[in-house]
Every structure is written in C-alpha cells, then in structure tokens.
C-alpha cells in the first residue's frame, strides 16, 4: 500500500457529489421522498399562484367588457350667445381624431313629440312620438342594429334624403307590417320613406321608441335645431378610453370655451371592479403566503425526517475523519439534487394544472415568469435548509453518541 495519509482531512467536490449520488442510488427512499415532497409543494404553490392570477385576469377581462364606452356632450347654458348647432364638421373631425374614439354622432329631438302615424290624414288625435335628427355617425355611436332595410349613409345625409328609421318598439305600437307592405310613415302628415327598422341600440336605447331622420333632412323640413333642442354629441370609445376622451373632447370642440361642453361619462361598475380587484388581490396575497408557507413546511418536514435518519451515518463519517464542514457538504449535495428535480417537476405540474383549468373555463392562463423560474430552486433551497438541521446536529453532536444509533452493518 502506498502512503495515503494527509496532514488535514479534506473532501474533494467530486467526492462530495459522488457520495451524494451513491447515497441516492443505494438508498433511494430518502431522495425519492424529498423529491416527492418538493414536487407536491412547488406544484401546489405554482398552481395556486397560477390559478389565482388566471382568475384575476378573467375577472379583469369581464370588467373590461363593462368599462364605460359612451360619452355625451351637451352644450351648457351660458350668458354668451352660442350657436344653435355648435358642432361643425371640423369640430367633429377633431373629436374623431382623438385616441380611443370609435364613432361620433350628433342628435337632437325635433320639437316636442310629433304626430307619427302609419297612414296619412288620420283625424283621430294621435299620441306624440319622439322624432330624432341624427348625423351620419350617430347610428354607429349609438350601437344601433338594423333588423330590416338599411341605415343612413353619407349620400343620404348629403342630399337630405326624406328617409327615416323606425325603432322596433314604435313600429310595433304603430302596427307597421314590414317594409314591403308599409314602406312609409307620416310625421305631422308628411310622408317619409322607411329605410329600415332599428332592432337594438346598446348605447341609446331610447331611439327604439323614436323615428330617426337624417340631420340634413330634418334641417330641410323642420329647420335648424333651436336652443331648446340642445343637440347632443354622442361618442363611442374603446374600453378604458372614455375618461381620457371626456377630458379632451371639450377642447377639441372649442379651444376657447371648453367649459360650455361638459362631458358626461357613465362609469358603470368601475367602483365595483375596484372593490373586487382589491378583495381578489388580498385573497391572492393571503393564498400565496399560505401556499408558500405550507410548501416550505412540507418540504422541511419530510426532508428533516429523511435527513434525521442520516445522523448516525454522518456520525460514522465524522468518526472516520470527516470534518463538520464535510458533513454539511454531504447534506447539501444529497438534498439539493432531489429538491431541484422535485421542484422542476412540481413547477411543470403546476403549470399543467393552470393550463388545464384555464382551458376548461375558457380563460387565458396567466403565470408570472418571475414566480415560475425560481420555483425549482426554491424546492432545492427548502430541501437543503431542511437537511442542514440534521447535518448540523450530526456535525455538532458527539460522534460517540450518534454512532450508537447506527444500524449495525
């Protein structure tokens, strides 16, 4: 035999890794248990965070669909003389050019309710119905859907075509029987061709009880709007842009007197959204901490159990020349690999759960990468920390005492 003794004991990194590998191969129970707990803990943690963030995204999407998209601007009263129709084409173009604006249109009611009938020269006293004059973009801004016939277009507006659209509610009350059999209505005994019927108007449902005529035709027949008519500018925006557009639109209409054009925005469930988001955020934070704590405790508990069983072996190694730092190196090497593997598998399992649940609910899966990438390392770190405890006990204990616990081999 060659002289093998050295003045100081030392442990080469390759030997630390080799001993850890040998330990895992020859007695895989500890490694498998550590990896399994890391898998479950990290998987549960990732799945919990992923599901909560996915649910948050789903709630946000649901509320985003209900964000205000409608702005109404009506010229306010003023001591200064103001034009009866304060929205010239240039002003409307400026409003349409604002970011987030989808459609704009101006409408006003012609006088008070007008006598509208399906037949001319009805002598019987007729109940009045609203007749609304509207510019070309109004129908789009009001979210009107035409059930029969067609809507106005720019050609009709430019030529003041004597057309009208009849709201579905009014059409039923008048007994209108369709475009083929009843092609016109009479407003104050003036015939007007029915271009179509308005079946639905999401942002201005009042027009379902009205007759809508092109603004140009209304001005030609009934004259320009008077002060009492107070034309209203209706603006459709993208979700979330209403607030910004409402602040800018008065300046787009009149840079010198924006205060004359106060904008009204229907904010709908914005407060509810904020409350739900706050509550959900708190729930997510609490669930995350609980998940993190439970996962770490789970890893620590089993790893501690596994590591504790190694105390006598560590004591034997100390009796055979290992220094305390060598024992710690053994524990770290032997726990890091199964913890890392378990953490990696757990992160994959968590992502799979999130994706499956999201697909099942038609949600968009949302997982923050900053939480996903460290997950395997968190598993390894938890396992290493847990194994450090029995390693420290073995390193600090008297080997003579710990040796007595080693199974005779």
């Amino acid at each position: 035999m060659t002289a093998l003794a050295r003045p100081k004991t030392r442990l080469r990194p390759a030997d630390a890794a080799g001993e850890a590998f040998s330990g895992m191969v020859t007695a895989p129970g500890n490694a498998v248990a550590t990896a399994l707990v890391a898998l479950l803990a990290v998987g549960w943690f990732v799945a919990l965070l992923g599901l909560t963030s996915t649910a948050t995204g789903a709630v946000a999407s649901a509320f985003a669909a209900r964000l205000p998209t409608t702005i109404r601007i009506t010229s306010a009263g003023s001591r200064l003389p103001a034009p009866a129709f304060p929205y010239p084409a240039a002003a409307l173009h400026r409003v349409e050019a604002l970011p987030g604006v989808i459609a704009t249109g101006v409408y006003w009611q012609i006088g008070l309710n007008q006598a509208v009938s399906a037949r001319p020269y009805v002598t019987k006293k007729q109940p009045g119905h609203p007749v609304i004059a509207a510019t070309a973009g109004f129908l789009a801004a009001a979210g009107a859907q035409i059930s029969a016939g067609r809507a106005f277009d720019a050609w009709d507006q430019a030529r003041a075509a004597p057309l009208c659209l009849v709201g579905s509610t009014l059409a039923r009350s008048l007994g209108l029987a369709g475009l083929a059999r009843q092609p016109r209505v009479y407003i104050n005994n003036l015939g007007c061709v029915i271009a179509g019927y308005i079946a639905h108007a999401s942002r201005e449902p009042g027009i379902l009880r009205s007759v809508v005529i092109p603004a140009a035709a209304a001005e030609a027949v009934f004259g320009p709007p008077d002060r009492r008519a107070r034309p209203t500018l209706l603006i459709q925006t993208r979700p979330g842009a209403a607030g910004q557009v409402a602040r800018l639109a008065p300046y787009a209409i009149s840079q010198t007197a924006p205060q004359r054009y106060p904008a009204r925005v229907d904010y709908g469930p914005a407060l509810l959204r904020q409350q739900v988001a706050t509550a959900l955020g708190g729930l997510i934070a609490a669930a995350s901490f609980v998940g993190l704590a439970a996962g770490a405790l789970g890893i620590a508990a089993l790893a501690l159990f596994c590591g504790w069983r190694r105390v006598p072996e560590y004591a034997l190694r100390r009796a055979l020349g290992a220094r305390r730092r060598h024992i710690v190196a053994h524990a770290l090497a032997e726990s890091a690999v199964p913890g890392l593997i378990g953490g990696l598998a757990g992160a994959s399992l968590g992502v799979a759960i999130v994706v499956l649940v999201a697909m099942n609910n038609h949600w968009t899966p949302v997982i923050a990468p900053i939480l996903l990438w460290p997950a395997p390392f968190a598993g390894a770190a938890a396992a290493m920390i847990a194994w450090l405890i029995p390693a420290a006990v073995a390193a600090l204990a008297r080997p003579a005492n710990a040796l007595a616990r080693l199974v005779p081999g």
């Binding site: 004991t9 040998s22 100390r318």
Partner: protein, 249 residues
Amino acid sequence: MSVTLLPGSADQPEDDAASTSAATKALPATALPPSSGPPMIELRGLRLRGIELPADLDLLVRPGELITLTGPPKPGRSALLNVLGLIDRPAAGSYVLDGTDTAKLREEDRAALRARKIGMVFAHKNLLPNRSLLDNVTLPLVYAGIPRRQRMIAGLDVLSRVRLTGLAQRPARQVGNCQRAMCAVGRALITQPDLLLCDEPTAGLETDEAEQVIGLLADLNREGRTVLVATADQLAAAYSSKSVQIGQP
C-alpha cells in the same frame, strides 16, 4: 486513588506493577517485542463521561504492543476506546497520543489526527449497509482527499489483505458477521494507522471466525502496529502481549 496499568512501561517499578489489577500474560512467541521509544498512548487520571469507575485511569502503551482491555464492563470499554480514538473527550484527565496532548486540540485537528494515526473497529462494526464492502473500506480515504482511482486500488489491496477480494462489490448487508468484522478491520487499516483500536471485534462470531479476526489483528501487530482490543473474549487475550483489567481499585 489512581489505578495504574503500565504494561511494557520501562520506567514502571516492579512493585508498582504488582500493585495494579492488571493480569499480565506472557508474550506469544510470534509477537514482536514492544518498542522502547516514547509511548504511543499515555493516559493520566482519566475519567469517562457517564461511566462511574472506582478510580481514575492511568495507562501507558508503547508502540508495537498488542493489548487486550478487559473491564470495566462493556459500556466503559467502548467509552474508553472512543476517548482513545478521539471521537469523544474524557470527563477529566489527560490523554497524550504519540506525544500530542489531545486536550488542546480543536475538533478539526482531532479529526485530522484521528484520520492520520488511528484506525477504529467499532463495536457494531458500523458499516454502511447499502454500500459495497469496497466503498466501506475506502470511506476514510474520501476524507483524506485521495482520488477515486487510488482509493479503489488501495481498497482492493486492503480487501485482499483481509481476504474479502471476492466480495468487494457486495453490499455490506449481504455478507456474514465474519466478513463484516473483516471489512471493519480493513476500513480501519486503509489509512495505514499506527494505532488500531478494536471494540469487541469477535462479538457474535463463531470460534473459528473469531480466530480468523484475532489472527489478522495479531498479524497486523507483528507488522509493527500498536493494537488495542477491548474484549471479554479470552481468545483475544491469548494472542495479546498484555491483558489489562481496567477499573479495579
């Protein structure tokens, strides 16, 4: 009162030796005479943790001796070997190993000295049951920083020495008591220590198996190693140069 056992001590007076409780046997014809150099082990006023002894222990062991330690009862013998093997500290007294006062050593220095000077055969052999005999005998070399290839060469050499070559790759749990005892001796030998401490090496063995183990220890002693065997087995005592009864007032 101090109980003194100084077998082979050149400066021990005859009447002192006669006053001790040690039962001194004649040297076997095959045993080498102990060296007359400085003592390998020198205990003065030693007390063991948790072991009540009627008197403090004094012991002087010269290099090249093979001594069997009988008494105190088994826990005391194992505790004494743990102190001698530097894996435990005494409650009181001094222990000088090959000229080094071990009381002044830090824990890591004790580990280094243990790895360099001492080979231990534990009472339960304490092999790693799932590791091969080769892995078990080479375990001390892991902490000596010896590369794996050299460890394997040295391990096979030692296994050949203890007649276990054919079982090198077999897990320790799959071999018999005698093979485990031989493997434990091989593990103690792997660092070529000057001092070999054996705690009940023949426990649980048949007579012929015990003879093999004791014969191996006697061979190692003839090669110049100092061997201390703690045992109640009279067979071991028959091979030793001195048999020491410790702890009798």
